[in-house]
C-alpha cells in the first residue's frame, strides 16, 4: 500500500462511554487502513461499535458521554483527533460525510429538503444562495428526485426517497470519504436494491471512497472491495472480500458464515453462534470472543491477542491462527 494512495489510517483507537458510574468500552485497539477509491465494509452485530468508529472519524460522537481515550485517526496524513473544532468543521460535509441509518429521523422536519441540501453547499463553497439552490436541485436530479420537489418538506416523502435526499446531502460537496451507516436497513428489500445501486453508481462517477457499515453479508459481497469484521469493539479480522468469504480465519467470522441458512440444503436447525454478545461495560479478559469460541485454548483466556497479518492484506486477531499459520 503506497502512502500516496492511503486515504485513512486508524491506529489503536479506543473509545469509551462514561455514564454515571459505568464505563463502557465501546471501541478497543482498532487498526484500519483504507486506500483511495476503495469500498470498505464494516461488518458486525448491532452494538459492536461500528457506528462509533465511523462517527469518531468525523468527531460527531456525543460528548459527553463519549470519549476517545487513545489512538490516532489519520485522514490523508493529518491526525483528525488533534484538529481544532474550526478545522474539523471544514472537513465535515466536505472531505468526509455520512449517511445515517434511519432516514425517517435524519432530516429536519421544519426545513424543505432543498434547503437542507443547499445548507451543506453554502457551508463549504463560496456561492450565493441562488447558486447553492441550483446545485441542490442538481443533486436532487442526480439521486433521481425531480428538482421541482426542492420546496417540499421531508414528511411529504417516502422512506426510500428520504434516504436519497440524505445521500444527496452527503455527496453534494463531493467528499473523498463517504461513511454509510446501514443505509438500507430501515428500507424495504426492493428499495434496498435501488439505494445500493445508486451508491455504487455515484461512487464510480465521483470516485468516492466508501466505508459501508452493515450487518448484512450479502450487501458486503455485492458492493465492497475490502471487509473488516467488528466484534465487541475490536476488529477481529480484515482483508479483501476473497480472503474473508473464502478463507475466513477468525472463529467469529466462521460462525457468521455458518449461521446463514443454506437455501439449497435440507436444513432442520439453524446454526447460531452459541452464547450471547458480551456486556460492553464488563468485557471478558483475554480474547473477547473466547467464552463463545469452540476452539478456545488456555492462552485465549488472558492477555492481549495480537492483530497479525497471516497473508498479504489479511489480518486476524486470534491465537489459533497464529499458532497454525506461523
Amino acid at each position: 500500500m503506497s502512502s500516496e494512495n492511503k486515504l485513512l489510517e486508524i491506529r489503536d483507537l479506543a473509545i469509551q462511554y462514561v455514564a454515571e458510574n459505568e464505563v463502557v468500552r465501546a471501541v478497543n485497539h482498532v487498526n484500519l487502513t483504507m486506500n483511495k477509491g476503495e469500498t470498505l465494509g464494516l461488518v458486525g452485530e448491532t452494538g459492536a461499535g461500528k457506528t462509533t468508529i465511523a462517527k469518531s472519524i468525523m468527531r460527531i460522537l456525543p460528548d459527553p458521554p463519549a470519549k476517545v481515550s487513545a489512538g490516532e485517526i489519520y485522514l490523508e496524513g493529518k491526525d483528525v483527533l488533534k484538529l481544532s473544532e474550526k478545522e474539523m468543521r471544514r472537513i465535515r460535509g466536505k472531505k468526509v460525510s455520512m449517511i445515517f441509518q434511519d432516514p425517517m429521523t435524519a432530516l429536519n422536519p421544519i426545513y424543505t429538503v432543498g434547503e437542507q441540501i443547499a445548507e451543506v453547499v453554502q457551508l463549504h463553497e463560496k456561492v450565493n444562495k441562488k447558486k447553492a439552490a441550483q446545485q441542490a436541485m442538481e443533486m436532487l436530479e442526480m439521486v433521481g428526485i425531480p428538482a421541482a420537489r426542492y420546496h417540499d418538506y421531508p414528511h411529504q416523502f417516502s422512506g426510500g426517497m428520504k434516504q436519497r435526499v440524505i445521500i444527496a446531502i452527503a455527496l453534494a460537496c463531493n467528499p473523498e470519504l463517504l461513511l454509510a451507516d446501514e443505509p438500507t436497513t430501515a428500507l424495504d428489500v426492493t428499495i434496498q436494491a435501488q439505494v445500493l445501486d445508486m451508491i455504487n453508481q455515484l461512487k464510480k462517477e465521483l470516485g468516492t471512497s466508501v466505508i459501508l457499515i452493515t450487518h448484512d453479508l450479502g450487501i458486503v459481497a455485492e458492493v465492497c472491495d475490502r471487509v473488516a469484521v467488528v466484534y465487541a469493539g475490536e476488529i477481529v479480522e480484515a482483508g479483501c472480500c476473497e480472503d474473508i468469504f473464502d478463507h475466513a480465519s477468525h472463529p467469529y467470522t466462521e460462525g457468521l458464515f455458518n449461521s446463514i441458512p443454506d437455501i439449497d440444503g435440507d436444513v432442520e436447525r439453524l446454526n447460531p453462534i452459541q452464547g450471547l454478545p458480551p456486556n460492553p461495560s464488563d468485557l471478558p479478559q483475554g480474547c473477547k470472543f473466547h467464552p463463545r469460541c469452540s476452539y478456545v485454548l488456555e492462552c485465549c483466556r488472558t492477555g492481549h491477542v495480537p492483530y497479525q497479518e497471516i497473508s498479504p492484506g489479511h489480518f486476524v486477531r486470534c491465537h489459533l491462527q497464529h499458532k497454525e499459520g506461523k
Partner: protein
C-alpha cells in the same frame, strides 16, 4: 438487549424494582420523599408533638418573636405559630391528597372510556373537557370554591374540578396509543372481556405518567389551596391552614414579618419535596434514560 443484562447474570427485573433502583440513586428524589413522609408523620402525630394546642391563646404574649418557648413566635392572639404550622400540615396534606385522588379517579375513568371506546362517547367527552379547560384552572377553582363555600371538603372538590381534564387527556392519549397495539388484538382474539383488557393490559402502561402527574398534582393542589384560603375562600381562620395563616399575618407584616415567613416556608418545603419526588419519579420511570 445486551446492555440490559446485568453482569451478575440473566436476572429478570420487574418494572417496579427497576424503578425503585433508579429512584434510590437520585438523591434529590430520596430527599424529597423523606421530607414529605416526615411532614406526613409530623402532621398525623400533631397532638403528640405540638408543644401547644393550635387554638391556645396567650393574650399576654401576642406577637412575640421566635424564642425558646415559642420556636416560631406567636401571632396576634398569642397562639404558638410552630404548633399551628404542625397542625396546619394536616389540612394541606389532606386537601392535597384528597383533591388529587378525586381528580385522578374521575379523570382516569373518563379518559379510559373515551380512549377505549372512541366514537361518539369520545367526541362528547372531549368537548366537555374542552369547555372545562377553557377556564383557566385557578379561576375555575375560585369559582367553584365561591359556590361551595369554605371548608376542607369543598376545597377538595373545588381543586379537583380544574385538574380532572389533565388526567383524562393523558389517560385517553395512552389508551389511543395502546388500543391499536398488537397485544390488545391478541387479548381480544382469545375472547377476553373489555374490562379485563382495560384493567390488565392497558392501565398498567398508563400508570407511570399518571403517578408522576399525581405527585406534581399534589404539590400544585397545596399551592392552590393556600391561595384560596388566602383570598378568603378555601379554609378559613381560626383553622391553622397555612394560606389562612398568611392571610391573617398579612396585616402585621411590616412589624412582625415572622407571622408571614414561617407559614410560607412550610408551604415551600411541602411543595418542594413533592416536586423533587415527582421529578425523580419521572426520570426513573422514563424508558429512555438520561444516558
Amino acid at each position: 438487549m445486551r446492555g440490559d443484562m446485568k453482569s451478575k447474570g440473566f436476572k429478570k427485573e420487574s418494572m417496579l424494582s427497576t424503578t425503585f433502583h433508579r429512584l434510590r440513586k437520585n438523591r434529590m428524589a430520596v430527599l424529597g420523599l423523606i421530607f414529605i413522609v416526615a411532614m406526613g408523620i409530623i402532621a398525623i402525630s400533631a397532638p403528640l408533638i405540638a408543644p401547644y394546642g393550635y387554638e391556645e391563646q396567650d393574650l399576654y404574649n401576642i406577637f412575640s418573636k421566635p424564642s425558646a418557648n415559642h420556636w416560631f413566635g406567636t401571632d396576634s392572639l398569642g397562639r404558638d405559630i410552630f404548633s399551628r404550622i404542625i397542625y396546619g400540615g394536616r389540612y394541606s396534606l389532606q386537601i392535597g391528597f384528597g383533591a388529587v385522588a378525586l381528580a385522578c379517579s374521575i379523570g382516569v375513568m373518563m379518559g379510559s372510556l373515551a380512549g377505549f371506546y372512541g366514537g361518539k362517547l369520545d367526541l362528547i367527552l372531549m368537548r366537555v373537557l374542552d369547555v372545562m379547560q377553557s377556564i383557566p384552572g385557578l379561576l375555575m377553582s375560585i369559582a367553584v370554591s365561591a359556590t361551595l363555600g369554605s371548608g376542607i371538603g369543598n376545597c377538595i372538590i373545588a381543586l379537583s374540578v380544574s385538574t380532572i381534564p389533565g388526567y383524562a387527556r393523558m389517560m385517553r392519549a395512552t389508551m389511543l396509543n395502546i388500543r391499536d397495539m398488537e397485544y390488545v388484538e391478541a387479548a381480544r382474539s382469545v375472547n377476553a372481556k373489555d374490562s379485563r383488557i382495560i384493567f390488565r393490559h392497558m392501565l398498567p402502561n398508563a400508570l407511570a405518567p399518571t403517578i408522576v402527574q399525581a405527585t406534581m398534582g399534589i404539590a400544585q393542589a397545596i399551592l392552590v389551596a393556600a391561595m384560596l384560603s388566602f383570598i378568603g375562600l378555601g379554609v378559613q381562620p381560626p383553622t391553622p391552614e397555612w394560606g389562612a395563616m398568611l392571610s391573617e399575618g398579612r396585616n402585621y407584616i411590616r412589624d412582625y414579618p415572622h407571622l408571614v415567613l414561617f407559614p410560607g416556608l412550610a408551604i415551600v418545603l411541602a411543595v418542594l419535596s413533592l416536586n423533587m419526588l415527582g421529578d425523580g419519579l419521572r426520570d426513573a420511570l422514563d424508558p429512555r434514560l438520561k444516558n
